[in-house]
């Protein structure tokens, strides 16, 4: 006869960790065991760091980025070009662009894409805040860096329309052949997009 000796605290911990991306109940169990074996070196500092982060990290009221302060460090940084705003879907996109190190302007995080199926409309995104930001005198260009998907580009066109009445240049990222891409491995749509956005050499 099997008896249940499960521990409520451990089960709760496993359940919570298994909700993180990349984890299931089994890998969460391994993480919990690992943490319990290193209580002082890892478990306590981790719990303190999590608590601190949950208390201190907030969304920037200007751009939607996550930081300890609002406005965030990027919005307050005078060395960044305040005349350019790059519009992105979420924080992960901001990190990707920052990693590339080629953009020195400001960001605006929309919070997703317009999606008919998921019921996400213009009011669910921070488009009004973007229009308010873009109407400030020092803003010259808005770069729409949305995904090259149907929803992503529908959102980009909607945002471009919302900015139409303002005196700002609206541009979007180029679509086409990726670096290291070979034409014979590419789908016809990517080739078509690359051809239509070709540039003079």
């Amino acid at each position: 006869m099997s008896r249940n000796y499960s521990n409520e605290e451990i089960d709760r911990l496993i359940l919570l960790i298994s909700k993180l991306p990349g984890f299931g109940p089994k890998s969460a169990g391994r993480v919990v065991l690992h943490l319990l074996k290193r209580k002082d070196q890892l478990m306590k500092p981790l719990s303190e760091a999590l608590l601190n982060a949950s208390e201190k990290i907030l969304n920037c009221e200007t751009c939607g980025n996550i930081d300890l302060h609002s406005p965030c460090g990027m919005c307050k940084d005078n060395l960044r070009d305040q005349s350019q705003i790059c519009v992105i879907e979420d924080v992960a996109d901001l990190w990707a662009l920052e990693k590339s190190g080629v953009f020195n302007g400001c960001y605006h995080i929309l919070g997703g894409n317009l999606s008919a199926i998921n019921g996400i409309g213009p009011d669910d995104l921070s488009i009004k805040q973007l229009v308010a930001r873009a109407s400030e005198d020092h803003v010259r260009e808005v770069i729409l860096a949305m995904s090259a998907t149907v929803d992503g580009q529908t959102t980009a066109h909607y945002v471009a329309e919302s900015l139409e009445s303002l005196n700002v240049e609206v541009s979007r990222l180029g679509h086409g052949v990726p670096v290291g891409g070979e034409l014979d491995y590419m789908d016809e749509g990517t080739i078509a997009a690359a051809l239509s956005s070709r540039q003079k050499l």
Binding site: A116, G121, V150, G189, T190, S196
Partner: protein, 240 residues
């Protein structure tokens, strides 16, 4: 159980971290859902955009199970139109309307082939794609059982000079037959009854407004469904 069929991608929604629930309008099995795994691989992601034509393989232990999809691209239509806001709205609208109106797992070859043809026209360089779109919506209305009767006047039975549509019956009405109810009737754009007639943005707007009214009245409101936002956007693009 396993089957294979050509199909049009309608939409996908998140199932768990690595899997999505994909909805495909297949030629032989109708609108059908299934789980697709490994969607974040570079090659697969671009395949499952709405409107793309694929060769789908579905497998499941029982017919009633959600099952798993494997898809291979036939034609990636959506990637041709990313720079056109009106065509993007049209493709999204086609997929949303099929997804909302077609019955689950019931083949409808007429709508399948007309939708496939329409997507081909929308993604082509043809200028008259929006007229074809209006006719496709009328066909869809008719297929779900609420077709408009634009053949002859509901009052006088005349088949010429049809300029209005009755909001209650969905039948055409002549100027003469409209009488004092003229203001309560929908204007009927000429191109909807005469294929050779010219049309402008106002005609397209009126046509989209007309089909929208009957979609909402006869299908969306009784079934407590929201009319697709992409379709609303498409109509607004012709509102000048």
């Amino acid at each position: 159980m396993r089957w294979e069929s050509n199909g049009l991608i309608l939409n996908f929604s998140k199932y768990n971290e690595k899997s999505y629930i994909l909805e495909i309008f297949t030629e032989e099995y109708g609108k059908h859902k299934g789980i697709i795994r490994g969607l974040h691989s570079k090659n697969k992601r671009s395949i499952i955009e709405p409107g793309n034509e694929v060769f789908a393989t579905w497998s499941g232990r029982l017919e009633t199970h959600l099952g798993n999809y494997n898809v291979e691209p036939i034609k990636l239509w959506s990637s041709y139109i990313l720079q056109f806001k009106d065509k993007l709205s049209a493709i999204s609208s086609i997929c949303s309307l099929i997804s909302l109106t077609m019955a689950e797992r019931q083949p409808n070859p007429l709508i399948y082939f007309s939708s496939k043809k329409l997507i081909e026209i929308v993604t082509s360089t043809r200028d008259d794609w929006v007229r074809e779109y209006v006719f496709w919506e009328m066909q869809l209305l008719s297929e779900i059982g609420y077709g408009l009767d634009l053949e002859r006047c509901a009052v006088t039975s005349k088949s010429s000079d049809l300029v209005y549509v009755s909001p209650s019956s969905g039948r055409a009405v002549t100027n003469e037959g409209a009488g004092e109810f003229r203001n309560k009737l929908f204007p009927l754009p000429k191109f909807m009854t005469d294929f050779k007639a010219n049309y402008d943005n106002d005609d397209i707007y009126n046509a989209l407004n007309l089909t929208e009214f009957f979609f909402k009245k006869r299908f969306f409101l009784p079934n407590n469904l929201n009319f697709p936002q992409s379709r609303n956007r498409l109509k607004e693009l012709f509102n000048h």
